[in-house]
């Protein structure tokens, strides 16, 4: 995830310049670099501890709207995991809890042109795949990532109702939301990591 935020920094900056203040790329890169450092420094034992550590790093380092939203997302995901193994159902539940946290903090709905537009279809796809018998965690994340990509793309024609882009009115139409895009990129990075493509 940190590598993806590093690679995609300029892209996210560009999206956030068109309908924001140009800092989303730097914020995400900084936050996930801090998360990586924290993980390397503390070597957390369980998956829940990993997510909590990431959450704290994001809250402490991302800043802006995305910091509390992603931070809460990781924290809520951590709360539904216990033990050292994560099943496909666990993964889908974690994503669902993450979405719940984002919606509770940010009060956005699908169609508002935010993270929620990518994460909502991601959760639905994750739950569907998790319900099937040959499901793997990797497949859950891959489905989530693909759905998030579609969701992020769906933000292009929308008028924003939340966040900085909402001040633009109809001028935000035709531009992809940066937060929805980083959601897609994070899920894709997770999927690739689980698929062994790193």
């Amino acid at each position: 995830m940190a590598a993806s935020m590093e690679e995609n920094r300029k892209y996210l900056t560009k999206l956030d310049s068109e309908i924001g203040d140009g800092d989303h790329g730097n914020n995400m890169r900084r936050g996930f670099a801090a998360a990586l450092e924290r993980l390397e420094g503390t070597s957390p034992s369980s998956p829940a501890d990993v997510l909590k550590a990431v959450s704290m790093a994001l809250i402490g380092k991302v800043g802006g709207a995305a910091g509390p939203l992603y931070g809460t997302a990781f924290l809520r995901a951590a709360t539904v995991l216990s033990g050292d193994e994560v099943s496909p159902e666990d993964a889908a539940s974690a994503l669902e809890a993450a979405l719940g946290g984002v919606k509770q903090r940010g009060k956005a709905e699908v169609g508002d042109k935010t993270i929620v537009d990518a994460l909502t279809p991601a959760v639905e796809a994750a739950k569907e795949v998790a319900g099937s018998p040959e499901a793997t965690v990797a497949a859950v994340f891959r489905a989530a990532a693909e759905a998030a990509a579609v969701g992020a793309e769906s933000t292009v024609p929308l008028t924003a109702r939340k966040g900085r882009a909402s001040y633009l009115g109809e001028r935000a139409q035709g531009h992809r939301d940066p937060g929805a895009t980083s959601t897609q990129l994070l899920l894709d990075a997770a999927a690739r990591s689980l698929e062994g493509a790193g």
Binding site: I19, G20, D21, N26, N27, G63, G64, P68, R171
Partner: protein
């Protein structure tokens, strides 16, 4: 991108260090947390005022820390809200036992981060409250957006609440006063040029040589309308019409006026604009109280542009605005 800096990622830290070196005796830093405090914090028995936001708006916020205004200001990365741990450290450092009041500008990031900070502070036994300022009239229909933004009018909240806190007002009273100020202040901004944040290295938006952006915010984000540039008087008229036509009825009242430069507009031009503001207010039967504030107060790096703020005053607000304060942004010569 040409800037007087050493490295983009070091700008904020070096700026804060420069402020502390310049104003030691008035200010001190929590350097690990990017927080500027009044040097004598905590002031026992007084409600402490904490504000903050992204860097790049100087003198906002660090320039307004000191007796009579803010107790602490949290500095985020350029145009990026500070984080809850910064705010918590600031809160603990200024807590004088009478509660801590956050002045938050209405941007989702600022609001969410300060909300989390308040939760953390309450968990540590510090009572907090906050106001979310939203003086910008540029965004009309706030039902379908994140609501109106907080811009230069926020500084009047800093000043009035700061004086009131010095005067012994309690946390509930500060909250009530802050909401009163916020409810009576209206602003609008515009830009002639964009600005370039150091870490991105690119201008936030492109704008033509003969264009202007009306309804600009303070983070370099695009405004509500792109138009061909017009004479200053026309621009002032358009902005004042929106401010005067908004939900605060200014007619016959006394107002505090701020003509605020975004950073790249010469003071000479701000006075040209003020001449029109003064003429229009006189025509409209609105009385300018004492002297207007004309200068760079809440900037957007090197952006050329300005904002107009009117605050409808009552006796209480006048008294607090007139009260002395000692802050880096208002040092006598």
């Amino acid at each position: 991108m040409k800037k007087l800096i050493n490295a983009p990622e070091r700008v904020v830290g070096e700026m804060l260090r420069g402020m502390e070196l310049a104003h030691g005796g008035l200010l001190r830093l929590l350097p690990e947390n990017g927080v500027v405090l009044r040097a004598d914090a905590p002031v026992q028995g007084k409600v402490a005022l904490v504000s903050g936001g992204g860097s790049g708006h100087e003198p906002t916020h660090g320039g307004f820390v000191g007796p009579g205004m803010l107790d602490a200001a949290c500095a985020g990365s350029v145009f990026t809200s500070p984080t809850p741990d910064q705010m918590l450290e600031a809160t603990k450092a200024v807590d004088g036992g009478a509660g801590v009041f956050y002045v938050v500008k209405n941007y989702t990031g600022d609001v969410l981060n300060f909300e989390m900070a308040g939760e953390l502070a309450e968990a540590e036994g510090i009572q907090t409250d906050y106001v979310v300022t939203n003086d910008d009239v540029a965004v009309e229909d706030s039902t379908f957006t994140s609501g109106r933004r907080g811009i230069a009018g926020t500084i009047f909240v800093h000043k009035i609440c700061g004086a009131a806190a010095d005067d012994g007002k309690d946390l509930a009273g500060i909250k009530e006063l802050a909401e009163k100020v916020n409810g009576n202040v209206r602003s609008m901004g515009m830009a002639l040029t964009s600005c370039t944040p150091p870490e991105s290295g690119e201008p936030i938006f492109q704008i033509g040589d003969d264009e202007m952006e009306i309804g600009i915010g303070i983070h370099g984000e695009p405004g509500i309308q792109r138009k061909k540039i017009e004479p200053a008087d026309n621009i002032v008229d358009e902005m004042l019409d929106k401010i005067l036509g908004d939900s605060v009825d200014f007619s016959g009242s006394e107002v505090a006026v701020m003509v605020n430069g975004m950073g790249g507009t010469p003071l000479m031009e701000l006075y040209v604009a003020y001449a029109r503001v003064a003429d229009r207010l006189k025509d409209e039967g609105v009385n300018v109280w004492r002297m207007p504030y004309v200068g760079d107060y809440m900037t957007s790096l090197e952006m050329a542009g300005f904002s107009i703020t009117l605050l409808k005053l009552d006796e209480e607000m006048k008294g607090y605005l007139a009260a002395p304060c000692d802050v880096a942004a208002g040092r006598p010569f």
